[in-house]
Amino acid sequence: MSDSLIKLEGVTKVFLTDEVETHALSGIHLDIKQGEYVSIAGPSGCGKSTLLSILGLLDSPTDGSYILNGRPVQGLSLPERARIRNREIGFIFQSFNLIGDLTVYENVELPLTYRGMPAAERKAAVTEALEKVGMGHRAKHLPSQLSGGQQQRVAVARALAGKPAVLLADEPTGNLDSKNGDSVMQLLADLHKQGATIVMVTHDARFARHADRTIHIFDGRVVQEQVESDPTR
């Protein structure tokens, strides 16, 4: 394993609603190396999605520090956060979050257009990503014309296309049947083998075992870290 890609120190997240303070995360310390496959597990409401949101710069910690790829990112401006999301992070969501009015190709292309990448480079990157997830033949389809598993593959391609430093997957199989779920997990495992750093939130122990390491969260705290003996199972 190489150097630290993600480093959280003392990260806390407090939500204020109607004068009630809810501590979603309390003093999280986390260190994820380049090329590592980490799963975050825990019961519903434990704070794992909040943690993933902070990792993905979708949300900011109330306290603590976050260093991504050697750079502190907790106090960045909104445009700068958007730029880092675009270049360093690839998202895979439980509900796929494809844009229904865009074709498969355009969905995968979207983050690259925000990057200002020239059209020819975009085309090459999109084609490569779609081929990697086995969806090259469906480039002109709309998401509504695909099965759930296919949609999630497209979402993975979108996450991959920009060659991000890390893939963040939030319950990537949550909306899939077991066959499609297995297929997507296999895809992630293959990507990991090819060197991708993956952080995945799941509450399914079966899928958590695909990761090198599983971090268990309970009530906003890391309560256990478990290293899998054979992550390829």
Partner: protein
């Protein structure tokens, strides 16, 4: 940009209901703006056609020294003095409208003609397309008579022959050489067909210094300002007043920019109208913004996702603006197309058959630029609110499985409500404006005119004085025509009148009564409208004799001069109707031997023009004691007056085959036209206010319908718990009426101040007219109530089971 545009297209295509409603609102707003701007542009913006360097062209007239808003024409002696003595103007020109009767064809043709001072067109900077302009020698006594003709006359009467220049035609029985053809569309000063040089030996008598009937123009010398010219003319006015106190004491001269003068009757109304349609466009923008906000709520996740994938706020705003610009461009294009009809419809409301040559209502680049600008501004306006609203999504919440998924935020709700309040307020301002102009017009239309215009046919006929110098020949002609008209079957009364009432033609003269100290100047004398008339014309118009006697055969040119006065005259100057007959007055102000007119009777009041600001009392002289060469004939006929057009034409041709008649019109049409301007602006205002009301109603309906759809589950729970339909309806209505109440409150305050802008153009009502301010908010409230009630009906049809399952 291209992917954004492509996506925007798909968004519009995907939601045809949204697109149609948004396009309808936008295109109505843009069409209203483009239509009004076309007229605003023609009147107040685009350069006056043909005239060189419009900014230095000025209009010159007389004015009383006290009355800053009085403005009347120059007399020829004053014109000549100003022309000779001023140092700030390169030259002055004047025109005098003349009738030119063109003979030599199948039928005599009457042309609208004018004398124009020989260098006039040079001063205006207009050259003929064929031939030459007049030169000073053309106006010299004894010079051969020459004529310039308008382009359409050249085409219609002379077949557009290239060799027309140098040809001799007969105008008013006198051969004249056509020396040139003016450019197509040029009909200075308004709608003339032909021009002749103003003869140097005309209007030269010193006693004509008090006859103010010549419009004058001039051009400022380079570097001279309007103020400098005004100051010099005021000095000259003082000099002339000292030299000619009888006619000029108390008078001064005023100078205006040529456009300011030409547009003074409608500049303010056009500005108000443009303001009104901008309000309409703002209301339309409110509608589209609200629709976009409602739709944006359903796109919250998409926006969050784009943001998660790295779209910056600016990038998201750009995408929203591309979408709104696309919508705006489509609405603008559609609005432009609709405005073609709008312009035609507005032109159809302009009652005069001919408008001055300089009013050109075609679309020019300024109109297109305005439409493009309005479209762009509207697009940014309605697109910006949703863009700003949505470009800061709560990513962690929106992207979460089961995130809000289309529920409006409180901030968006407040924004939507604020937009509706603003729409209602704007619509109320427009409706109050429309209500005031409508009430003002109705008051004007209800003004008693003093005549009964129905079943009366009128036309104009005359013998040009240059051709008919012998009065007995003139009298014989009119006597014959009068007999021919009276003999027409069904004609119950007929006669002549020097100028028809309810037109802008008038004759106002200074006078004093016998027994009063003779005034030293015309400014110190009384003044009154005056007309000459035959008894048959008074009968045909049903102007009643209330006291004394009517003119009769004993009132002829050589008998003592007599007059009839109207009730207003008798009451103002004579102490009442009963004290009028037998009194004498004279127009010979300043004469040592005045010519007295004895009042022989009192007739009913006849107004000059509805809503005229000056007093409208008048005196009538027997036509037999006047020296008019042109008259308006009036005939009371059974049925449709227009059906008598050929009969009257034949009757005049029977008297003389070379004399045409013209302006053959029912008197009712003239009465209708007399209030065309307030009717025109009233109709426009009501039309635009109607559109505003419609758009505001759609806006309220849209917001309430959306609120109901957002509260489906809540309503379901309430109904599951036993809420009565009436309770649910009341709940929805309460929510809507709160918005309406705020909107009406804000609108009433704004209307109160905005109404003052109309003060100058209202007749018979106050700008804060209580009935208008009471009724209009009620009307808007009723429409708003309906717009709230419809969605509330949908709320009570919510099936609790279905509603609860949507959770």
């Amino acid at each position: 940009m291209l992917p954004d545009l492509r996506f925007a297209f798909r968004q519009l295509a995907k939601a045809p209901g949204f697109t149609v409603v948004a396009l309808l609102a936008l295109s109505l707003g843009i069409a209203a703006c483009t239509t009004v701007f076309t007229f605003y542009n023609a009147l107040l913006v685009r350069p006056l056609p043909f005239l060189q360097d419009e900014a230095s062209l000025v209009r010159i007239g007389s004015s009383t020294q006290q009355g800053t808003d009085s403005f009347f024409e120059l007399s020829m002696p004053d014109f000549r003095d100003l022309r000779a003595q001023n140092t700030t103007l390169t030259d002055l020109l004047t025109t005098w409208n003349r009738t030119f009767i063109l003979t030599g064809g199948d039928q005599p043709q009457r042309l609208l003609g004018a004398w124009i001072t020989a260098t006039g067109f040079d001063t205006l900077g207009v050259k003929p397309i064929l031939g030459r302009n007049f030169v000073p020698a053309d106006a010299a006594p004894g010079a051969p008579l020459v004529t310039l003709i308008a382009h359409h006359v050249w085409r219609q009467h002379f077949g557009g022959r290239e060799d027309i220049v140098g040809q001799t035609v007969t105008l008013n029985g006198v051969p004249t050489e056509i020396v040139g053809v003016m450019p197509r569309g040029f009909r200075f000063p308004e709608v003339n067909d032909a021009w002749q040089p103003f003869p140097d030996d005309q209007e030269t008598k010193p006693e004509l210094r008090g006859a103010h009937h010549l419009p004058a123009w001039g051009r400022l010398k380079p570097g001279v300002t309007l103020e400098q010219a005004q100051a010099e003319l005021a000095t000259l006015g003082t000099r002339l007043a000292a030299a000619y106190p009888t006619t000029n004491a108390g008078l001064t001269f005023r100078v205006f920019n040529i456009r300011d003068d030409a547009t003074r009757h409608f500049a303010v109304q056009m500005q108000l109208m443009l303001g009104a349609v901008i309000f309409v466009l703002l209301i339309a923008c409110g509608n589209v913004a609200n629709l976009l906000l409602a739709r944006a709520a359903t796109r919250a996740r998409e926006i969050a996702l784009r943001s998660a994938l790295g779209a910056t706020r600016g990038r998201l705003i750009r995408q929203f603006l591309v979408e709104s610009l696309l919508l705006g461009a489509a609405g603008g294009a559609l609005g432009l197309v609709i405005s073609f009809w709008g312009i035609d419809a507005v032109i159809a409301l302009i009652t005069p058959d001919e408008t001055p040559f300089w009013m050109q209502f075609d679309l020019d680049w300024r109109t297109f630029l305005f439409t493009a600008g309005a479209t762009l501004a509207a697009s940014v306006l309605f697109g910006l609110a949703p863009a700003l609203q949505l470009s800061r999504p709560d990513l962690a919440v929106e992207l979460k499985e089961g995130g809000r998924g289309g529920t409006a935020s409180a901030r968006a709700s407040r924004l939507r409500s604020s937009l509706v309040i603003a729409q209602i307020a704007l619509a109320l301002v427009l409706l109050v404006g429309a209500g005031l102009t409508l009430r003002s017009f109705l008051a004007l239309a209800a003004t008693p005119t003093g005549i009964e215009p129905e079943n009366v046919l009128t036309f104009r006929v005359g013998l040009p004085p240059s051709q008919f110098k012998d009065r007995s020949e003139v009298r014989a002609f009119f006597d014959r025509v009068e007999r021919e008209l009276a003999a027409l079957p069904g004609v119950s009364a007929s006669g002549f009148i020097s100028y028809l009432p309810l037109t802008e033609n008038n004759n106002i003269s200074a006078f004093y009564l016998e027994g009063e100290t003779p005034p030293a100047s015309t400014q110190e004398a009384h003044d009154t409208h005056n007309r000459s008339v035959t008894p048959g014309a008074l009968a045909a118009l049903r102007i009643p004799l209330l006291k004394g006697r009517m003119f009769d055969a004993n009132d002829h040119a050589k008998s003592p001069h007599v007059a009839l006065v109207d009730v207003a005259f008798a009451e103002k100057f004579l102490g009442g109707v009963d004290r009028a007959v037998g009194r004498r007055f004279t127009f010979s102000v300043g004469d040592k031997e005045p010519k007295w007119n004895t009042i022989v009777g009192v007739v009913g009041n006849v107004i000059q023009l509805p809503g005229a600001r000056r007093a409208q009392h008048q005196v009538w002289f027997p036509w037999t004691q006047s020296d008019e060469n042109f008259v308006s004939a009036v005939l009371r006929v059974p049925g449709d007056p227009a059906a008598y057009a050929q009969n009257v034409r034949d009757a005049v041709l029977a008297a003389r085959a070379d004399i045409p008649i013209y302006y053959i019109e029912p008197m009712a049409k003239i009465a209708y036209r007399s209030i065309w301007r307030p009717r025109f602006f009233g109709q426009l205002f009501v039309g635009f206010a109607g559109i505003a009301l419609f758009l505001a109603a759609i806006g309220i309906y849209g917001v309430m319908a959306y609120n109901v759809s957002q509260r489906t589950q809540e309503i379901g729970v309430r109904m599951a718990l036993g809420a009565q339909p009436g309770t649910v309806v009341a709940m929805v209505l309460r929510q809507g009426l709160r918005l309406v109440g705020f909107g009406l409150g804000a609108g009433l305050v704004a209307s109160w101040f905005a109404a003052s802008l109309l003060a100058g153009s209202l007749y018979g009502i106050s700008p804060h007219d209580p009935p208008t301010f009471a009724f209009v908010p009620l009307l808007l409230a009723a429409v708003a109530l309906l717009a709230c009630w419809l969605p509330s009906r949908r709320a009570v049809r919510v099936d609790p089971m279905v509603a609860l399952r949507t959770e």
